[in-house]
């Protein structure tokens, strides 16, 4: 498991969070329990299984919704 911290452009509506959560939940290899989408910091923090999923796939799932990914870090 690795921890991804993804900085997004400013989120303005709380329903954005629901959308991002929904999109990430459907990815195989995401640890749903650790997922945290923060409204004010506009950040996503989530553990994922690097054998099933890459950070690029996570990023593209978010950017497909129309939210720009500014920066991401995997630890």
């Amino acid at each position: 498991m690795k921890l991804a911290t993804i900085q997004l452009e400013t989120l303005t509506c709380p329903s954005c969070m629901l959308k991002i959560e929904g999109a990430l939940k459907s990815l195989d290899g995401i640890d749903k329990d650790t997922m945290k989408v923060s409204f004010n910091t506009s950040k996503v923090k989530v553990n994922f299984d690097e054998e099933k999923l890459s950070i690029d796939e996570i990023e593209s799932a978010i950017s497909k919704l129309g939210y720009e990914v500014l920066k991401s870090r995997v630890k």
């Binding site: 709380p14 629901l18 129309g66």
Partner: protein, 616 residues
């Protein structure tokens, strides 16, 4: 394609706005209904495109978002050929989102300023000995870094060579330059004002003090209170419920106009956004003023505070005792001072430190057969003389006869609240010193401000003797003061207050009060960047600055009030609109959208006031 349209949202909004203006001008001036209708149709389609895409994406991940409600409403208006409504509603929705983004950025600006102070790059020593510019993420513990004048120190570390002065405002809130030389500790995020230093990295990234502060503030602004979690749960079901309500209304009344109006009115905007906005602005104000508030739950509890309990030493007092008065008896005082210094040099008692500081330079002689008498003092042989240093009880034991004058001196110093240290040479009293832990300057005024803010009880707990405690308490005007308390007694006391149903704040320096800090409803740490204090407490006053406390309390109260105002605005607007729809004619879809967007802006602007909050 979808991405392209979404990225052009702002241009689409402007074009659709211009089209609407053209439409109405052509209607009112040249009375051309064809132009009017067609421009509105184009404006509707343009404006609806990004909203429909967002709605589709939301539905795909099984979320009924506001976009879904608006999309259905707009399509409905379009089908009944009310192009005026469909154009205006889409425009207002886009325009509102635009304004929300702009203003939300403002409310978040204070915290952003803080996080932007994080260092990004470092000059790291490579294997060939040269320094190269690297990203701060590439620095590991143990790396050697070069910091030049004007640069940000990238990690927490120790100075290896060179010297300079550092502005530590980002950690302490005080922009006074601090001198650094070989062996000094330096902190990430602080700025080297002048000089050049080489440092070895002790802690990097999120482990640094600054990293921890940032993480804490970031978590705080998104941490949710019970009430907020309720609103979140509520809004998850609320939006689909509005959709069903609209459908039911249409089914029974066959009035599409009314049904789609309800969809627009039902958009939950201000309610979900109101509390987070107050929260982020309040915490941002705190961060700017050297106060860390850990989230909205803390703010709520803090604002309803009943009783504030203080630790004495290091919180209300400076924590480093100093000699306030000294009296000499007889002659050969210089010699005695030398003996005293020689004996005290070997002690790690806090009073010994104060005495040595007071004496300064003295002739040091070798000390023999030192005997520490617990609770009384020290007896030792120096240059063949028997030296006793301690309190009155020790002097009695050593058969020192106290003159009338010395007895009055002792009584006088005791009444002042000083701790007494007497020195005798061969059973003859030579020196009497009164040592005192100074009250922090300004504490009395700060406590007055706290009272004015409505804190009913101010209580002091201390390990010192009751006499000293009573004197400090009287001087500061506290409600109650208890002495002779061990750390576990303090936490017992706090537990009792909580069990009585009071909301208790405990203010301590975080060194030995951790249990009390953790136990109190609100643990307030006077942290000069100590990790334990930052982690166990709910509120941190940076740089141990007591004077921030009234501002912290005032800010918490203002923020809690602001949250309530926002909830009232949000619910009030929905009620007025619903009443308008049911009982009058003035509410249509456009008016509904306008009021809805206006209410969102109202709560954001209201929240923004907190950024400028100052204690009067």
């Amino acid at each position: 394609m979808q991405k392209y349209i979404l990225s052009k949202k702002n241009s689409i909004m402007s074009i659709s706005g211009i089209l609407i203006v053209i439409a109405f001008i052509s209607k009112w001036t040249i009375d051309n209904i064809a132009i009017f209708t067609w421009t509105l149709i184009i404006a509707s389609i343009l404006g609806a495109a990004p909203i429909i895409i967002q709605a589709y994406q939301a539905l795909r991940v099984k979320v009924v978002s506001i976009d879904v409600l608006v999309t259905i409403a707009v399509i409905g208006a379009f089908l009944i050929q009310n192009y005026e409504e469909s154009a205006i509603v889409t425009f207002l929705f886009l325009f509102g989102a635009y304004l929300e983004q702009r203003t939300l950025n403002k409310t978040r600006s204070a915290i952003k300023e803080l996080t932007e102070m994080a260092p990004e790059s470092a000059l790291k020593q490579m294997e060939n000995g040269e320094f190269e510019l690297v990203e701060v993420d590439e620095v590991d513990e143990g790396d050697i870094l070069l910091v030049k004048t004007g640069a940000k120190i990238p990690v927490d570390g120790t100075v290896l060579s060179g010297e300079g002065s550092v502005n530590e405002a980002s950690i302490t809130g005080e922009s006074i330059p601090v001198a650094k030389e070989k062996g000094s500790k330096v902190y990430a995020g602080t700025i080297l004002d002048n000089g050049t230093i080489q440092i070895v990295a002790d802690r990097v990234g999120e482990d640094t003090t600054f990293g921890k502060i940032i993480e804490l503030v970031e978590e705080a602004q998104d941490s949710k209170s019970e009430a907020e979690r309720f609103i979140d749960r509520f809004s998850k079901y609320y939006t689909p419920a509005v959709l069903i309500l609209g459908f039911v209304v249409w089914l029974f009344s066959k009035n599409i106009e009314l049904a789609i109006t309800i969809l627009v009115l039902g958009c939950p905007g201000a309610l979900v956004i109101g509390v987070p906005v107050s929260n982020v602005a309040g915490i941002g104000n705190g961060a700017r003023n050297g106060i860390l508030l850990k989230g909205s739950e803390v703010i709520n509890d803090f604002s309803r505070l009943d009783i504030m309990v203080f630790d004495k030493t290091g919180t209300l007092t400076m924590g480093n005792p100093s000699v306030s008065e000294k009296v000499y008896y007889g002659d050969s005082i210089d010699e005695t001072l030398g003996y005293l210094a020689s004996v005290e040099r070997e002690s790690d008692h806090p009073l010994a430190k104060a005495i040595l500081e007071e004496i300064g330079n003295a002739t040091i002689s070798p000390v023999d057969s030192t005997e520490v008498i617990k609770g009384e003092g020290i007896v030792a042989i120096v240059n063949g003389h028997r030296i006793a240093v301690g309190n009155v009880a020790l002097m009695e034991k050593e058969n020192v006869s106290l003159s009338e004058k010395s007895k009055t001196d002792i009584a006088r110093l005791e009444a002042k609240g000083d701790s007494l240290v007497l020195t005798s040479v061969d059973s003859e009293l030579k020196i009497l010193m009164g040592i005192r832990d100074q009250i922090r300057p300004g504490v009395k005024e700060d406590l007055q401000r706290l009272k004015k803010l409505g804190v009913k009880n101010l209580v002091m707990l201390s390990g010192d003797n009751q006499g000293t405690v009573d004197i400090v308490s009287r001087e500061l005007g506290l409600t109650k003061a208890y002495g002779n308390m061990l750390p576990q007694d303090k936490s017992q006391y706090i537990k009792k207050l909580i069990d009585d149903g009071q909301i208790v704040a405990f203010v301590g320096d975080g060194v030995n009060d951790s249990p009390s800090l953790a136990l109190a409803n609100i643990g307030i740490a006077m942290g000069s960047g100590t990790d334990v204090a930052i982690e166990t407490s709910d509120v941190v006053l940076m740089n141990s600055d007591f004077s921030r406390l009234p501002h912290a309390l005032g800010l918490a109260k203002a923020t809690a009030r602001n949250m309530k105002q926002n909830i009232v605005i949000a619910i009030g607007v929905v009620l007025v609109l619903l009443g308008g729809v049911l009982f009058s004619e003035w509410v249509n879809m456009s008016v509904g959208m306008l009021v809805h967007e206006a209410s969102i802006l109202a709560v954001i602007l209201n929240g923004m006031r907190l950024l400028r909050y100052k204690l009067r």
